[in-house]
């Protein structure tokens, strides 16, 4: 039995890298600094160790050949999930390039709320260490932050010392939209977060009013979506008075139509505040199950985020038309490669297509896919790299045990090699 310290997690998105994990053969136990997200994700047991073709155990080579055979003559294969590490994404994009596939990250429709804003008007954002050391006001929009990342407050707001905030416990936290599910946002000196609740679907209106108030526009109404204008006016003044306010949201939590317009209003409001003789920054939350990793690697490999097709021999990005679920629902896709190395519960979205699953060991299926290659988890079974939510820091994932499971990259390379031998280029 060994104990490994300073273990980074690819699961929570906020880059915690202080976990202590006990390794006993193949069994892992988080003994320090675990949380509701990370601990079960690390401790999940390995079940399958052997690839299967039509339910029968085979070697990786045979499984790869079968997968290549399924992909060889397809018109529009879809590679979905895209939940893996940097090397896994590299291999995935190489395979997609070779077979002319559509690549679609499973969290893309959520990330799209941010990407459409970025690609239309841009933003001013910050990263976690700046939050930890500078933030004097945190505005949480439409998101239950502690459910998203249980240790966010402990690590980045209620840290004892900050370089530029004298008393971290006096930081202000304000929720707009959803109320927090627990009390992680209550400061160490007992100050509870201020909460202005409204329905998710009312956020576009509330945020629009908030931006108008920040800009000093007159508002005739007394309330908006149940929130008193006076409360929003106070919030606007607090944002302008803060030295370094941070506005955070999880794109996936904004589950209403055209939420990108709300992200855009927030981002433009932050730009406005920066023209009012103070600083303010956005902090989009994400980074789970490799979503930032997928967009980063696809970004440098193709120029586009991870909803991109190669069917015409070169990458084409479309944030709507390349949606894997839509392509499957419309019968446009004729094969599915599902790549999910982090979450055994995230199974393929359909069982009506010839399906190849590159999945975390432990994945179970209502209907057995044509090919299943159980793979190791980055940061547990092999070393790798994953991006944190703030998109700047790539964490170096450690290998914690010798499971003998192939990595995502190993499995996808094997399929690509089999295709090369079939002269598919």
């Amino acid at each position: 039995m060994t104990e490994i310290t300073e273990v980074p997690s690819p699961f929570c998105g906020i880059g915690t890298d202080d976990l202590t994990i006990q390794v006993d053969g193949l069994a892992l136990k988080v003994t320090a600094n675990g949380c509701a997200v990370n601990t079960p994700a690390f401790e999940q047991a390995i079940t399958d160790t052997s690839p299967r073709v039509d339910g029968k155990e085979v070697s990786l080579e045979v499984a790869a050949k079968k997968a290549a055979g399924l992909l060889k003559d397809t018109q529009l294969p879809v590679i979905g999930g895209c939940a893996t590490d940097v090397n896994g994404m590299r291999a995935l994009l190489a395979l997609a390039d070779r077979v002319g596939a559509v690549v679609d990250n499973m969290n893309f429709s959520a990330a799209r709320n941010n990407l459409l804003t970025l690609q239309d008007s841009g933003w001013m954002n910050t990263t976690l260490a700046e939050v930890k050391n500078r933030c004097d006001l945190l505005l949480v929009v439409g998101t239950d932050l502690e459910a998203f990342a249980p240790r966010f407050f402990e690590r980045y707001l209620w840290n004892k010392e900050a370089m530029f905030v004298d008393d971290t416990a006096s930081r202000q936290v304000i929720y707009l939209g959803k109320a927090p599910s627990g009390n992680a946002s209550t400061s160490p000196n007992g100050q509870a977060a201020k909460v202005l609740t409204c329905a998710d679907a009312d956020l576009p209106e509330v945020i629009a009013v908030l931006r108008a108030l920040v800009k000093g526009q007159p508002i005739q109404a007394q309330t908006v979506a149940g929130i008193a204008i006076a409360d929003l006016q106070t919030l606007a003044e607090q944002l302008k008075a803060a030295r370094y306010s941070v506005v955070t949201w999880a794109a996936g939590a904004l589950a209403f139509r055209q939420a990108e317009l709300t992200v855009q209003t927030l981002s433009e409001m932050i730009k406005d505040i920066n023209d009012m003789n103070t600083r303010s920054s956005g902090l989009p939350l994400g980074g789970k199950e490799g979503d930032q990793t997928a967009n980063q690697v696809c970004g440098w490999t193709t120029g586009f985020p991870a909803r991109t097709r190669f069917s015409r021999g070169y990458p084409e990005y479309d944030p709507f038309l390349n949606d894997a679920n839509a392509l499957i629902a419309n019968d446009e896709a004729d094969a599915l490669v599902w790549v999910q190395a982090f979450n055994a519960k995230a199974t393929p979205p359909t069982d009506h297509l010839p399906t190849i699953v590159i999945g975390r060991s432990g994945m179970t299926f209502a209907k057995e896919p044509a090919v299943f290659i159980p793979v190791g988890t980055p940061g547990i079974d092999h070393a790798g790299h994953a991006y944190r939510m703030d998109n700047v820091v790539a964490i170096r994932l450690k290998k914690l045990r010798d499971s003998g499971l192939p990595s995502t990259a190993d499995a996808l390379h094997a399929i690509e090699n089999a295709l090369r031998e079939m002269n598919v280029c």
Binding site: L115, A129, E130, Y244, R279, T301, F304, Y314
Partner: protein, 551 residues
Amino acid sequence: MLIKLTGGTVYDPAAGVDGKKQDIYIQDGRIVKKPVKDVQIDKEYDLKGKVVMSGAIDMHTHIGGGKGNIARTLLPEDHRQDPVARTECTRSGCGHAMPSTFVTGYRYAEMGYTAGFEPAVLPVNARQAHMEMADIPILDKGGYAMLGSDDYLLRMLTAKKDQKAVNDYVAWTMQAAKAIGIKVVNPGGINAFKFNQRKLELDEQNSHYGVTPRQILQTLATAVKELGVSHPLHVHGCNLGVPGNMETTLDTMEGIGGLPMHLTHIQFHSYGTEGDFKFSSGAAKIAEAVNKHKNITIDVGQVLFGQTVTASGDSMRQHANHKHANPNKWVTMDIECDAGCGVVPFRYRDQNFVNALQWAIGLETFLLVDDPWRIFLTTDHPNGAPFTSYPHLIRLLMDKTFRNDMLSRIHPEAQKMTTLASIDREYSLQEIAIMTRAGAAKLIGLQDRGGLSPGNWADITIYTDNADREKMFEKPDYVFKDGDLVVRDGKVIHSKWGTTHVVKPDFDPSVEKGLKDYFDRYLTMKLGNFKISDDEITEDGRGSITVHPTT
């Protein structure tokens, strides 16, 4: 395999060879001496009438790291104009302003380049820079680690830590980030922006730390010299883009007191305030100062007309410049108590007075600096123009008639404000070879690169001599990388992987005590997880690390 390149006209400034007919032999990736008589030549290339140079080296090009990927993500409409299809030996991707990594490698190679250096590697983002560069085929690469706005250094300066302590920190950072140089961007200014300062003069104090840009430059230039790092401190100065900033630039040169210093994309720092538009060329004065101060090297950061995107660590100046964004979308980021970045798309237009004069200022600088060993050919890709415009730039430098023809097309008021028409100088092939090969290798401290004598790696580019220098330089006949033919007739025919160049200056290991405490208290990752290990670059079997000596 023994390869012979027969009868080409060789320009090899590293060996003092200036347009001489000379045979070159290649074996096991390197250039070798003429073999003894009866050794069999496996492959011979007849290079009669061809021009032979070593592979070109871009010493300042933004090819790896977070801001570049933000720039890519920001501009899908730009990529859609330039899709690049897969071939039997190349991957698909996209081109134009900020090409995908694979296309970056192919297009550089197709212009005869065999190495490129990313000049703004944020230590906390160095993993990304190396991972992106690991996906750039053919080219060798390396990076300059950015310091000067990081809170750790500023705290050291406030605490009046001695130079030795700073040197240890700088050396540690270079090893942790796998760098070959040190870069400073708007010294202290990126940090000051986080405290809501919107400009920072050379002698202006950071409002929190009380430290000035001049102190930061002095301290870092001294550290780089005392550590024996070949590449001098690489400086993106204060006040980028501000009319009148030539005074700051001259002061920066004078103020460094003879220490080696490289001033990058100096065109953006060479502006006066004369004329009706209060914007004028400072190139003559800047060039005069460069000619005088032998400790100074520069690259130009030439502006060429068209759409591009500017991606810089200088969040302070990029925020100020966002009003020029075209299309109107832009990003700034504050990053990890380490640095920041700003990404602003630009469309330089020849009928815009300022853009037209920027174009002229860059060319004046090229033509007025005497010593080609101390000036380098860059557009600060993609900031002044995409790197794919280098052949056009070379023609502007080598062909006065062409240059004056282009000059006659720009904004008429800008024509009046430049001395360009009166400058007769035309660069020679040897001077181009110095700027883009021998000089660059010498400046960065690359061993066995940038020259054609036996012992060098066989990075070799062969052109057909052509009076139209743009045509000549955009389509080499052959490019060899480490002895393998990778380009024929301007097209990649074989892809491979270059090495990552680094230096590993020594430091006192006790430097980690203070750093560990700082990381634990203030940063968001553990010190041990911050440092990049060699295997992160080599483990995929494609990458390799080449360590160059310190003096």
